[in-house]
């Protein structure tokens, strides 16, 4: 029993917290009328749903950076690709309710005088197909990029710069109208998902619950990976790639694998994000976004899975608060936070608790001794 608990680690706590939050939010939103002290507004539900998407994304970044030492500054690309796949499905759900009333083509295509869907939109009205694309598109990009970069043994800062360049290139490409993804405006004006109105409270709650569920599943997957022997190989690669190679592993295969898994998780986060915020545009590819994700993980605690979740939620919440009070100061605040955490808490928020516990124990020990 104790063995099993040790193996599960922080998993039950994280899943429990997510479950309680979901239960609390849904009951307080649906059962209590507006104006009641216990009511949680739909705006808040959506806001927290967004934070949970970020948390899943942070988990993905932590998996490659915290455990494998690959500092990816391009995870925004995977997130956005997953988001675009979901956005394409949602666009097709609008049907003839668009401004131009075309049952087949989304409004922006009608506006561009296109008369048929481009080939890569094929199957976009099928939910299942697009959900496959949510993981397949980021996964494929990660596989191609990873195979080329890791097999040529590109690492460290060069790799980071390349990932940054990839996401920037995607941003420029998606800005073009001819790409067929809505250009500058992206995909928006969504109406339904699976036939349920995106405006209704119950759909919002269901989306929140789905996000919490996927976060829990994502956490469980990452937990399983990092605690397996495979996870120890990955940690070993972070510490000494050459040693790993000379005891017979192929580090590049491991890196590609973990990078692909991480990209897929990021894609799922993007797909959950889009119906909640109601829009996906090329801005999601912006390099700054990808850097922000790394900051979440650094602040939450690199190499700690629950730390990544805490980091994403804390920083995003702070961002919401800060940008409401003094929008122009946010970037300075974020930068300041990053510097402070790096200086004072090198292991992030998650590293803070064990340190405190250790100090407390030492004090106790000293008292007992004296």
């Amino acid at each position: 029993m104790a063995d099993l608990l040790k193996k599960l680690g922080s998993l039950p706590v994280v899943v429990g917290c997510l479950f309680i939050t979901t239960l609390y939010v849904s009951v307080c939103n649906l059962a209590f009328p507006e104006g009641s002290a216990l009511h949680v507004s739909t705006y808040t539900v959506t806001l927290f749903g967004k934070y949970l998407c970020y948390a899943l994304l942070a988990l993905a970044v932590d998996l490659v950076w915290g455990y494998c030492g690959i500092l990816s500054l391009g995870h925004g690309a995977f997130f956005a690709l997953g988001g675009y796949a979901m956005g394409m499905y949602l666009m097709r759900q609008i049907g003839d309710r668009g401004v131009y009333g075309n049952p087949e083509l989304p409004d922006f295509m009608v506006f561009l005088n296109w008369d048929a869907l481009p080939w890569y939109w094929a199957g976009s009205d099928s939910f299942i197909w697009m959900m496959i694309m949510v993981v397949a598109a980021p996964g494929l990009l990660a596989y191609i990029f990873g195979s080329m970069a890791f097999r040529s043994r590109v690492s460290g800062v060069y790799l980071s710069i390349m990932t940054q360049a990839v996401t920037y290139a995607f941003m420029l490409a998606f800005f073009r109208n001819e790409m067929g993804f809505g250009g500058n405006n992206g995909l928006t004006d969504f109406k339904d998902i699976l036939g349920f109105s995106l405006q209704s409270n119950t759909t919002r709650i269901a989306l929140f619950a789905a996000t919490a569920t996927f976060l829990a599943i994502g956490f469980a997957i990452c937990h399983f990976i990092v605690n397996s022997k495979m996870g120890r190989v990955v940690t070993a690669i972070r510490d000494s790639e050459n040693r790993v190679r000379f005891i017979g592993y192929k580090p590049e295969n491991y890196k590609v694998w973990i990078f692909v898994v991480s990209a897929m998780l990021a894609g799922i986060a993007g797909a959950l994000y889009v119906p909640q915020v109601g829009i996906i545009n090329p801005g999601e590819f912006s390099p700054l976004n990808s850097i922000e994700m790394v900051v979440w993980v650094a602040i939450g605690g690199r190499g700690s899975l629950y730390g990544a979740i805490i980091g994403a939620i804390v920083v995003s919440y702070a961002k919401t608060r800060f940008t409401a009070i003094m929008p122009e100061a946010w970037l300075y605040a974020l930068g300041g936070l990053f510097v402070l955490v790096t200086l004072l808490l090198p292991k992030g928020i998650a590293g803070f608790f064990p340190t405190i516990a250790a100090r407390f124990n030492q004090k106790k020990l000293a008292e007992v001794k004296s």
Binding site: S147, S240, I247
Partner: protein, 269 residues
């Protein structure tokens, strides 16, 4: 997904170097140059099965480059390197060579600092090195026993659950040797095993290495002449990328060429 089936990965593990002629490693006419500098110059070297060989030579004589060539890190410009008679090492990459049974200890001790001593050995055990196999891997009783055995051999039983990063320099060196042993290699390449060790630790390392010879073939690169004297049966002297002399320690010491280029520096101090 880069799925690799378990069986092809294991192929190299089944390689049995053909040592009917008593030679486990053939290095023939190998040259390597970096930007015109000849690190290895037409070097030939044969290591017998089960022997303990010491390689000595001044800095830049090509010792580390030779190790790099054998383990697949550096490709020679010309020459032939084979493991036993048939296994051509020049067609294999580092991981394949390692799995085929050539273990290497680096000059600077490299262990996985954030893993425990036990986990370091666990990762080094011979077996399937593919991703999926390791994702669902469970340590068998046999493997635990093997690890316990190695912990005993390298004298780190008490440090089993310690983080490798917290070990002393000498202990890290031993752990790295233990990691090599876990892979069950036929040939061990050991680069400066006693650098930075106390006299006592050096003595124990000498015992460890001599006990390994016989079951394994061991090649030791070392600067510490006292250490070489204490373990060596046969010594090869490298100079400017090729073999200058080969023989027992006393033969080497009386070789006028060697005295001039290498030992001369020591006695001249």
């Amino acid at each position: 997904m880069s799925r690799e089936a378990g069986s092809p990965l294991l192929e190299e593990e089944n390689i049995k170097p053909d040592t009917r002629h008593g030679v486990i490693l053939y290095v023939e006419d190998v040259s390597v140059s970096f930007d015109g500098f000849k690190a290895l110059n037409d070097l030939s070297l044969y290591i017998n099965d089960g022997e303990l060989r010491c390689l000595i030579g001044a800095n830049g004589a090509g010792k580390t480059t030779l190790m790099d060539v054998i383990t697949g890190k550096t490709r020679p410009d010309v020459g032939k390197v084979s493991f036993g008679q048939q296994v051509n090492l020049l067609e294999m990459d580092e991981a394949q060579i390692a799995r085929a049974g050539i273990g290497r200890k680096f000059q600077k001790p490299t262990v996985f600092e954030n893993l425990t001593v036990f986990e370091n050995l666990e990762l080094s055990l011979h077996g399937d090195k593919g991703i999926w196999a390791n994702l669902f891997h469970k340590l068998s009783g046999e493997q635990s026993d093997e690890i316990a055995q190695i912990l005993h051999t390298i004298g780190l039983v008490g440090e089993c659950n310690m983080q490798a990063g917290a070990l002393s320099h000498g202990q890290k060196q031993w752990l790295e040797i233990g990691m090599l042993l876990a892979a069950k290699p036929r040939l061990l390449l050991v680069d400066e095993p006693v650098a930075g060790m106390t006299a006592q630790e050096t003595e124990r390392t000498a015992e460890l290495l001599t006990s390994l010879a016989g079951d394994h073939s061991v090649v030791v690169v070392e600067h510490d002449m006292a250490f070489v004297r204490s373990i060596a049966r046969k010594v090869t002297v490298l100079h400017q990328g090729s073999v200058l002399a080969e023989g027992s320690m006393s033969e080497i010491q009386s070789n006028p060429e060697v005295v001039r280029v290498y030992l001369g520096e020591e006695t001249g101090e």
